[in-house]
């Protein structure tokens, strides 16, 4: 080794490998782990902001609840299909107008989609669903009702799991989520008394699972206050509907909503205190630039 034994007391340890240093190989300097950083990218959450964000989950839970309640009423014969069709169409029209009003038609200009195209797809959809509704009605006749219910439950749960709540995760897939919801609606619709019921049920499912979230997203982005109002209103109407069927179900559902919108944010913020995210020179570097410009 190059260093002289006599000088070893004054020599300062360096974090270099190319020099033979007068220290044993397992020497631990004071500078050990000095570049360790903790919680560099940790975000500070504010309670009400998190509660606001949890609105998406609440809304989706309520959508599923409203859907099931409406189905129950139809199945029991307490709700006339014409009435549901009328309300559904009316609210869709209002929603359609709102959709453009909220952002002053900016989204429409960006996407370049004409009203004629919207009308065409709506017509095509309604015609085909109406035409196929007798098939939908008889499609699952040979399958036992219990199986249908079980399948619907799984599909609706799957819809909730895979729904795009705005998180950037691998599990999120809005296509899969929508497909599962429509599948559940087809399953449930096939247990209704007539094919008109089935047609209206599937149309309603499209409205509540495909169109309604789009409107919500826009509401949330442009008018947060009205979004809170709409969420509350929606939650209470879902609760009310459930209450008319089952008291226990309504209480449990209310508890679930409170837990998701208040308790979970509270715990998220509390558990942040225990967060210990370690960073240091060993981390894989991130490429922050946009490198695709070199290829375009």
């Amino acid at each position: 080794m190059s260093a002289q034994p006599g000088t070893s007391t004054e020599v300062k340890w360096q974090k270099v490998l190319y020099e033979r240093q007068p220290f044993p190989d397992n020497y631990v300097d004071q500078r050990f782990l000095e570049e360790l950083r903790k919680n560099v990218h940790a975000r500070k959450y504010r309670f009400w902001a998190v509660v606001f964000e949890s609105g998406v989950v609440v809304q989706q839970l309520c959508s599923v609840c409203v859907f099931v309640v409406i189905w129950w009423y139809m199945d029991e014969g307490l709700l006339a299909p014409h009435w549901l069709l009328g309300t559904g169409l009316a609210s869709s029209l209002i929603g359609y107008i709102l959709f453009d009003l909220i952002d002053g038609g900016e989204g429409r200009r960006k996407s370049g989609r004409t009203r004629w195209a919207d009308l065409k797809s709506a017509l095509v959809f309604i015609t085909f669903t109406y035409g196929f509704s007798p098939i939908l009605k008889t499609l699952t006749e040979s399958v036992s009702t219990d199986t249908i219910y079980a399948m619907s439950v799984f599909m609706l749960l799957g819809h909730l799991v895979f729904f795009d709540y705005g998180a950037n995760a691998a599990i999120v897939s809005s296509t899969l989520s929508l497909n599962m919801a429509i599948f559940a609606s087809v399953c449930l619709a096939s247990r209704l008394p007539r094919s008109l019921h089935a047609f209206i049920m599937v149309t309603f499912a499209i409205q509540i699972f495909a169109l309604w979230p789009m409107l919500q997203k826009k509401l949330k982005a442009h008018t947060p206050c009205s979004y809170v109002g709409v969420t509350l209103l929606f939650a209470f109407s879902a609760l009310g509907g459930l209450l008319s069927i089952s008291l226990v179900g309504a209480v449990l559902f209310a508890l679930l909503l409170v837990a998701i919108s208040c308790l979970c944010p509270f715990y998220l913020i509390r558990l942040q205190l225990f967060k210990e995210n370690i960073h240091g020179p060993w981390d894989e570097a991130e490429i922050k630039e946009d490198l695709s410009r070199f290829l375009n």
Binding site: V16, L17, W282, F294
Partner: protein, 485 residues
């Protein structure tokens, strides 16, 4: 690797041993060890870990230790093979699962490994690479059998994602009762200590080495009318190939006399080809494809500047090889790279296209003004930095230290597992350790240690390779050793 280097290690031992001052081999060492290197990664696979194991083993043999290597079978290459200087390699018939790493059940390899440990009279198990399941299996079995264990970690790991959280937990379990751990750089040591929650005192830093005689400069091979930047790396995301695809057009537009030579293969090669196509640089950017280790030097000496764009690196051997060939090194400042070369031999940049371009421009202007040191001078400086003999000497100190330590008895090992690895994982692995111990007792009852033949000692102080004893005499000697034990 092994066969190719035979020329170097095959020459008469008296000639290689030794300049004075480097640990006198002829004064007989009081203590020699029987070392078993275990890793999934060995020749014919190629890479840093593989050459590390081979070179270290050769140098340890040179220093009078007995070394055997255990790895898994590579295709047709199975059974026992002897390499240069009687280095014995066991290619075990274990199933390869993913990326040349074997599947592990924690138990199925015990019969084979125990047999090897006993018949080779191994005293120290030295496992390599945290990606190798076999290395961890061997550590587990060795502790059950009461043998000393050493582990070398060659890689860096993050802490953020789920996969690293799980692997770090397994590493904690595997290393919590290992006698000593070796890391290849100080950054790697910090990383390993954090990952496995270790006492830093039992972690040594011993860098990798390069063979300076393999990487000599040859200034006549390069054209001084143009400037050539050399890149030699696998073309994968972690090596920063994306950054390279931004640097090439940026600099080629600025300097008309600039050429790139890129050696290596990988999934990201396609983006380099796209860049070359897009900017019409076919005559200035050469993609050589996969390189054999022996060809690397011939590529390096054609360049003036070496560029390394890695995003993470425990110890970057490529930049040492390049500097040894007399190239100016420009590299990203990640992982252990700042520790590897002194500041005047390397230009460190942030991992971004902008910063790397600035670093390269600095190197180009130095080159044009002629302020860069001559390749021969660079080589003479770098060749003193990292040698395998020095690595072996320092590893030997670890072995000496470990040999003096007691292996944890079973009860204390279980205590350590439970107290150190968390209540759930700790208890599970303590239970597995107990099963392993019972399995070992069963195996000992089936085939007692005494009926296992002692292997012919190829290397080591009384090795068959060193003294050309006739077979019968050698056998008799080995039996004597048995009796002494």
């Amino acid at each position: 690797m092994a066969y190719r280097r035979r020329g170097r290690h095959g020459h008469p031992r008296s000639a290689t041993r030794y300049r004075a001052g480097r640990g006198n081999l002829y004064t007989f060492r009081t203590r020699t060890h029987n070392i078993c290197m275990v890793s999934d990664f060995f020749y014919p696979n190629m890479g840093g870990v593989e050459s590390h194991i081979y070179q270290l083993s050769q140098c340890l043999i040179e220093r009078g230790h007995k070394v055997v290597i255990v790895t898994h079978a590579y295709g047709n290459r199975k059974g026992i093979r002897y390499l240069t200087n009687g280095l014995k390699v066991y290619y075990l018939p274990l199933k390869v699962m993913y990326n040349q790493s074997t599947a592990t059940t924690l138990f199925h390899s015990l019969p084979l490994l125990r047999y090897i440990f006993v018949r080779e009279r191994v005293t120290i198990i030295h496992s390599h690479s945290s990606f190798s399941a076999m290395a961890h299996d061997a550590l587990f079995h060795a502790k059950t059998m009461g043998l000393q264990t050493v582990f070398t970690d060659h890689s860096l790991f993050g802490f953020a994602d789920v996969s690293s959280v799980l692997t770090n937990k397994l590493l904690t379990v595997s290393l919590c009762d290992t006698n000593h751990i070796i890391c290849v750089s100080y950054t790697s040591k910090e990383n390993t200590v954090l990952r496995a929650a270790l006492n830093p005192e039992i972690v040594s830093v011993i860098p990798n080495a390069v063979d300076p005689t393999d990487f000599t400069p040859d200034p006549f091979r390069r054209h001084d009318s143009i400037i050539t930047i050399v890149v030699v790396s696998r073309l994968v995301y972690r090596k920063g190939t994306d950054l390279l695809s931004g640097i090439i057009p940026e600099l080629c537009q600025k300097y008309p006399d600039l050429n790139f030579i890129i050696g290596g293969e990988g999934p990201k090669r396609i983006i380099l080809e796209e860049v070359r196509e897009r900017y019409q640089l076919h005559d200035r950017v050469r993609l050589l494809g996969a390189l054999e280790h022996k060809d690397v030097r011939n590529v390096l000496v054609q360049g003036h500047i070496f560029l390394n764009t890695s995003l993470t690196e425990a110890f970057c051997m490529a930049i040492v090889e390049a500097a040894s060939c007399g190239l100016q090194v420009v590299s990203t400042k990640v992982g252990g790279i700042p520790e590897v070369l002194p500041e005047n031999l390397i230009i460190l940049c942030e991992p971004s296209v902008k910063s790397l371009c600035e670093g390269l421009e600095k190197a180009i202007s130095q080159l044009k003004s002629g302020t860069l040191p001559a390749p021969e001078n660079l080589h003479n400086i770098v060749k003193t930095f990292y040698t395998w003999r020095n690595v072996a000497e320092r590893t030997e100190k670890v072995y000496d230290r470990v040999a003096g330590e007691a292996v944890l008895p079973m009860d204390r090992r279980l205590d350590r597992l439970i107290s150190h690895c968390g209540p759930v994982t700790g208890c599970i692995f303590a239970l597995l350790a107990v099963f392993n111990f019972l399995f070992l007792i069963f195996l000992r009852w089936m085939t007692p240690d005494s009926v296992i033949d002692v292997a012919i000692d190829a290397t080591g102080p009384k090795g068959a390779w060193t003294h050309q004893y006739p077979y019968s005499k050698k056998r008799g000697e080995n039996n004597e050793i048995c009796k002494i034990r």
